[in-house]
Symmetry: C2
Subunit: 195 residues, 2 copies
């Protein structure tokens, strides 16, 4: 399954895939990635091993599948939250506050960043290009600018940076602080495209 | 030695420290961090083990010391290159092009990101706060804005993001492409502080 297929797939479109990813998520959260095998996931999902291996041959494919599904869900929530807002500036402000809130409250990400950085960090850095592309395309589709792709990429990179290195000279503890930051430092991006 | 002390220390101020960090850099580049011990570094530096252990008790302190010295050197080169430029906008444009060039040509970073991501990625992500603070303070000191700290932090985060995840929808292969990007997407930051 390619990234784009997985992103576009409806939640109910392939119930075996969903069961596998649910099981993988639960195992990763309870035991970590390192101590989980593809066989564990098959057992937890109540599916034949061959069914799982046909779709996710290696454990890393499961990690990738889980992360991509989390990203897809987040982008849907994001869209639901910001689409009703009347201006692009308000969408950026609320979207940034939502992103920080989701990222901070994500139990699996939080667990893996502390207990297994070596598993999760490559996906979020040197191997992040496919996730970055998916998020960039999604954000760009909502921007009305000839420079939509570059502006979207900047949004995504800044959000990812705050996930990876939360510590900041900028106060971002509360939603209101996140909004104030976005208003002053991210909204200006919208008009940065020049000609 | 605190971060700030190490950053401020002159290259010649403590020749034993410099010899140790030179030796550590060479070992890390030739053999990687994992296969280097503090004893190896002492031998390579031609210093007594106790001299090295007194300054760098654990190998991770050596990694930290090497990275901080590289950062310090880079910030000096950066200052030398951008200080003569007449406007803040030109400083940002040339500074960004220089940053990408240095980051891409850095042989130790390049080696470790490929061969030992588990060693280097935590320093550049979850553990990057001290380096980020040093670079932010440095950049902020050169900005004439009430929002200097936040603007500086954004510059540093965006640069770090391109180091960690080079793949981009934005063409940044050449110096001229890096300049064009900085002109359109980073220079507007300079005026983003206005309420």
């Amino acid at each position: 399954m390619t990234l784009v297929e997985l992103l576009r797939a409806d939640d109910g479109s392939d119930s075996a895939n969903e069961r596998i990813l649910d099981a993988a998520y639960e195992r990763f959260l309870a035991f970590g990635v390192r101590r989980t095998t593809v066989d564990d996931v098959a057992r937890q999902a109540g599916l034949a091993r061959v069914t799982v291996y046909r779709r996710f041959a290696r454990k890393n494919d499961l990690v990738h599948g889980v992360m991509l599904r989390e990203l897809r869900r987040f982008l849907r929530d994001f869209e639901r939250a910001v689409a009703p807002l009347p201006t692009a500036a308000e969408q950026v402000v609320e979207g940034f506050a939502l992103t920080l809130r989701v990222v901070r409250g994500h139990s699996l990400l939080a667990r893996l960043l502390v207990t297994e950085p070596e598993t999760i960090l490559p996906h979020l850095t040197t191997g992040a290009a496919p996730y970055l592309a998916v998020a960039r395309e999604f954000v760009a589709a909502h921007l009305d600018s000839p420079d939509a792709e570059a502006i979207a990429e900047m949004f995504v990179r800044v959000s990812l940076s705050f996930l990876l290195t939360p510590s900041s000279a900028i106060p971002l503890e509360t939603d209101d602080q996140a909004r104030a930051f976005a208003r002053r430092h991210l909204v200006p991006f919208l008009s940065s495209g020049g000609r």
